[in-house]
Amino acid sequence: MKNSAMLEAKDARAIVRLLGEVCANPGDTIAKKRQLMDGICELIDADRWGWGLAAQMEPGKPSVHISLLHGGFTEEAYAAYTQAYTHPEMTAVHASFAAEIAEKRCHLTRLRQQMDPEEGFKKTGAYAYWQAADIDGVIMSLRPLDSKTFSILGIYRRFGADLFTSRENRIAHILLSEVPSLHTQGWPDDHGITLPDLSTRQRVTLGLLVQGYKRDQIADHLKLSLHTVNDYVQAVFKHFAVRSQAELMVRFQAGDGGDQ
């Protein structure tokens, strides 16, 4: 069954063309990830995407994710997205996917309607934030990096359009699962295994710092005072034993010098 699965020529061509274009990208890992994700969005009519690390995705434990790259969001929508994906009630929504990946331990890509067929997320406090982020259709892709951590991706489609189809999910899965090195590069060497030790707000602050946000932008994003943000930033710096945002960015984007 699996061996005889066919792809339409136009999909096959689009997949090969996109990966070929990413091969020619002279930029670094981050630039290639961006090009791949923007290309996938174009291919399957998605509007937004986020890529990051999941440091805890175990049944029975709170999900710990951090978004480290994103595309297609306005600042307001990205702020709402942050509130949405870090919402404590989302753990229950992810539970079946977490159980599945804990069992299979391989790269999985799932549609929202597969992960949450009963649409339980609509009854959570997170739903208002998903609406504010204008995210309805979801493709989520998880690839194990080691025994505890995952490369995690979300591909999203606006409200008012149809949900993603299984054909679109398959295209995304092929494109994402056959580029293993893009999942392993561009993170710290420990894949953020210590992220669960930070509070949710500290983690979000970390994600924004790594993406180059300034403190006043982080305060706007989280609707917090600059003073509070400064406390989070200090806690993050202390946690990673760095003294500046630049040092933190280098740690997260290049690994601990492990690629040199």
């Binding site: 699965a5 090969v16 091969c23 670094d28 630039a31 056959e178 893009l182 500046s244």
Partner: protein
Amino acid sequence: MMLQGASPALCFFESDIRKISHLLGRIITAKGDHTSKRIRLLDGLAHLISADAWAWEFSDIDSDGRKRPLSFLKSDLKKLSATCQHFLPIISRDDVCDTSALEEDTGLRFANPSCCLTLRFENQVPGAGLSTIGMFRRVSSRAFSERDGGVFELVLSEVSWVHTPQGPERSVLATRSLSPRLRTILHFLLKGNSRKQIADLLGIELNTVHGYVRDLYLVFQVKSQVALLQRCSHDVVRSLDPP
């Protein structure tokens, strides 16, 4: 675009698309220049369709309409020569294109083309010339199948850079024109070092470092180290690494 020995397929096996994607996925993060990427892709493609050898030729067309070969690249044909008497040439007989490079290299004479064991793809690179890629099997092998031709045509028609003589140059930006001192300072800034650390490492005054940093920010049109890190790719970091 011209293809011999294969026609575009209407659909593809998902398993083939996965193999092609995996090959491209490895090239995405492989180090190396355009030529090494081309070799990886053609080696990988040859493997996918069980071809024993491949060759790529790039030529331009002169005013008389004749092809002038400019570049030539091939897989290791020597390892084949021990086991096989002759190859079918990838370039058909009426082409001006020169197979003598292959013959000299392998010491083999090419038999008359019959095309049955040959796949050939031509691609006109706008404003540059003509790229021809051939794949071939030993005469004793089975002919390429329809599936082989489909995979071959798919990759060579969708991956355009395999035909271009030079790849996009790596963006080492303006670093070449920087003074050695500025390159050193940039190297440390991109590693996340603070100005104080740089001053200590180089044994120079902090004020001197301030001056260098200001110059660099001007060159890169940024106002902070964070912005500099966002602007510069890791290729720049590597290009600055001291030997």
